[in-house]
């Protein structure tokens, strides 16, 4: 009877459900009735379906916060803060290296050879890449650009920001979790009143 079993499994495993990684589930979760059904099922587990970035991603939250839950969230938050800088740097670096108009958005393709080539050819990018790869989050001791980029991609897949459709091909798809990251950045900016602008100077609009 439970046609939504696989969705629950995926959510319980701590995954972010977005159109890139789980198109079918993401589609099904648009249905509020189904969300309610899933929430009913999850209630005894103290979980509930949450969404971020205008429904771009779904994930599970605690319904009631107990001491353990709060401790888990605290650790997670510390981690999120620690990953913020390397992730931001990753986004700006790829934008520059790949010559994109904007930072990566869900659905964009990142081809490693292209990325490697761009960094090999440009000493400044190469240096920035080396710094980024050495960051605790990516934790690469590699000397070559190729190995550094591979390690970065690997970690990003582990954390759900990238997915690799074919294990043997060096190209990656950006997932909806990047939207979540942008949401987090906006939230922190607003909460902390940081003077970080996202509106262009007026002239460009007119």
């Amino acid at each position: 009877m439970m046609t939504y079993g696989p969705i629950i499994e995926t959510l319980l495993a701590g995954e972010f459900i977005c159109t890139q990684r789980f198109p079918e589930y993401h589609q099904q979760l648009q249905d509020e009735t189904l969300q309610n059904q899933i929430n009913d099922y999850l209630r005894p587990l103290n979980r509930t379906v949450s969404q971020a970035a205008d429904g771009s991603v779904f994930f599970l939250s605690y319904q009631q916060l107990d001491k353990q839950g709060r401790e888990h969230l605290r650790q997670q938050f510390t981690q999120t803060l620690a990953t913020l800088m390397p992730l931001l740097e990753w986004l700006t670096l790829t934008q520059e290296a790949l010559g994109h108009d904007s930072t990566l958005v869900p659905g964009d393709t990142v081809k490693l050879p292209e990325w490697v080539m761009a960094c090999e050819d440009n000493p400044s990018l190469k240096q920035r890449l080396a710094n980024l790869a050495r960051d605790r989050f990516f934790n690469s001791q590699a000397e070559t650009v190729d190995a550094q980029i591979k390690q970065i991609a690997k970690r990003l897949v582990e954390h759900g920001y990238l997915m690799q459709p074919h294990g043997d091909r060096p190209y990656f798809i950006v997932t909806g979790k990047v939207d979540y990251l942008i949401d987090v950045i906006r939230f922190i900016r607003d909460e902390e009143n940081l003077p970080v602008d996202e509106k262009p100077e007026q002239e460009a609009l007119l």
Binding site: M1, G5, P6, I8, E9, L12, A13, G14, L45, N46, R47, S50, Q51, A52, F59, L60, S61, Y62, L65, G69, R70, H72, L73, R74, Q76, F77, T80, L81, L84, M85, L88, E89, L91, T92, Q95, D101, S102, T103, V105, Y180, I182, D183, V184, I185, R186, F187, I188, R189, E191, E192, L194, P195, V196, D197, E198, K199, P200, A204
Partner: protein, 419 residues
């Protein structure tokens, strides 16, 4: 290789120079054509005409008609002389409509005077004008689609793309305004009582322009969508860039811990993963044994129906490798349920509907899938068994006009038993 490239670009430069010279040499007649809309053929010799045609400066819309300036050339002149009237499309449309009115008037007068030759000529001119009017919009629409479909790929960066998009949107607005200047009531009045005029002004003009309007509205819609995507991309890039810069400049920044708030923001409330999720446990060897036994029984029971001597059916063999994929388990369950259905029918005394069986036994399968499986399982049965278990399809055509038959239900009748 490189030499060839230089040659090609050399050639292009040479050709460009020649053609620009051509424009200069015939500036007077080209300006005359710009002013009146048609090139005065009598004032140039055939060679010049051919050169201008080859250089893509003028064209002949249809053979037998006058030569005109190509749109880019006309636009170039409009830009050079800052001819605002020509540059704005409304004025252009107004112009053309005015010309059509004038020509219709002249046509009527010629008809009244029974000057058939002149009337015919005027009619041709009207046809041309209508064609021009429509063609201009067509050209603009084509170019707009082109820009849209390439995502403004020709623009170097996001800012330029946004500027181009804005420009295109302004153009659409002008085009729509231009279109709205065509008054269909007036066209009907103008065409009054004349078949050919009616065809031109009402049927042709109206049909084409209403298609064009729809097309333009669609383009407008997509342009706005694309623009908001551009804006989103732009603000995202700025946000990421500025935030990275800010954090780099303020490494000591203390961000408050939102998880200490009584209501933790959803963004930061991400529950710990529970790995031991509830699902069909195909690794459970007890359950597996049970499943296998049940399956084996079912197959044993159906073997006489199949009339086959194969010791193990495919599904039984497959169970030996028992892949832990839920899909396969479901597939097998479906097969088993269908087998059970046939057994049930064979043992009962009356015909049974497959769908009724589905609901009576509270099976979870979707009706369509169930029927499909029943049908395909039935086809695997031996002919002699099929003869004993006649299967009847309840079908209906899709509609009165479409004779494709949809199977609504399947009814299987048990073998007649001798009491």
């Amino acid at each position: 290789m490189a030499g060839e490239q230089i040659n090609v670009s050399d050639q292009r430069i040479e050709q460009g120079e020649k053609r620009l010279n051509l424009i200069g040499r015939h500036a007077a007649i080209l300006m005359q054509a710009y002013q009146t809309g048609v090139l005065d053929e009598l004032s140039v010799n055939e060679g010049v005409l051919r050169n201008l045609l080859n250089a893509r400066i003028i064209y002949q819309p249809e053979s037998g008609q006058g030569y005109r300036l190509r749109a880019p050339v006309a636009q170039l002149i409009a830009n050079l002389v800052v001819d605002e009237r020509r540059r704005s499309i409304q004025a252009d449309v107004a112009d053309k409509l005015e010309a059509i009115r004038g020509q219709v008037d002249a046509f009527r007068k010629a008809q009244q005077r029974s000057d058939i030759y002149l009337a015919e000529l005027k009619l041709q001119v009207i046809e041309e004008r209508v064609h021009d009017l429509v063609a201009e919009f067509d050209e603009a629409i084509h170019s707009l689609w082109n820009r849209l479909n390439t995502d403004f790929g020709f623009a170097a960066n996001l800012d330029e793309k946004m500027a181009e998009n804005q420009r295109a949107q302004n153009q659409i607005e002008r085009l729509l305004e231009g279109l709205s200047m065509i008054d269909y009531d007036e066209c009907i009045a103008l065409a009054d009582g004349h078949v050919k005029l009616r065809h031109l002004l009402v049927v042709q003009l109206q049909r084409r322009t209403s298609l064009q309007r729809a097309s333009m509205l669609e383009i407008q819609h997509r342009m706005i969508e694309l623009m908001s995507r551009f804006r989103e991309q732009q603000s995202r890039s700025l946000l990421v860039g500025n935030m990275a810069q800010f954090l780099r400049q303020h490494p000591e920044l203390k961000i408050s811990d939102y998880t200490e708030q009584s209501q933790v923001p959803t963004l930061f409330n991400q529950a710990r993963a529970i790995r031991a999720a509830a699902h069909v446990d195909v690794h459970n060897s007890d359950a597996q044994r049970e499943t296998l036994a049940a399956l084996h029984d079912a197959l044993q029971q159906t073997r006489h129906l199949r009339g086959e001597q194969i010791p193990l059916s495919e599904s039984a063999q497959a169970t030996e490798q028992f892949d832990d994929e839920i899909l396969e388990t479901q597939q097998r369950q479906l097969k088993q349920d269908v087998d059970q259905f046939f057994i049930n029918v064979a043992q009962s005394q009356q015909a049974q509907s497959a769908l009724n069986y589905l609901t009576q036994h509270k099976l979870q399968w979707h009706g369509e899938i169930w029927l499909f499986q029943v049908l395909s399982e039935y086809q695997t049965l031996a002919r002699s068994v099929q003869a004993q278990l006649p299967l009847q399809r309840h079908e209906r055509p899709v509609s009165t006009t479409n004779n494709v038959q949809i199977i609504e239900d399947l009814v299987v009748t048990p073998p007649k038993r001798v009491a």
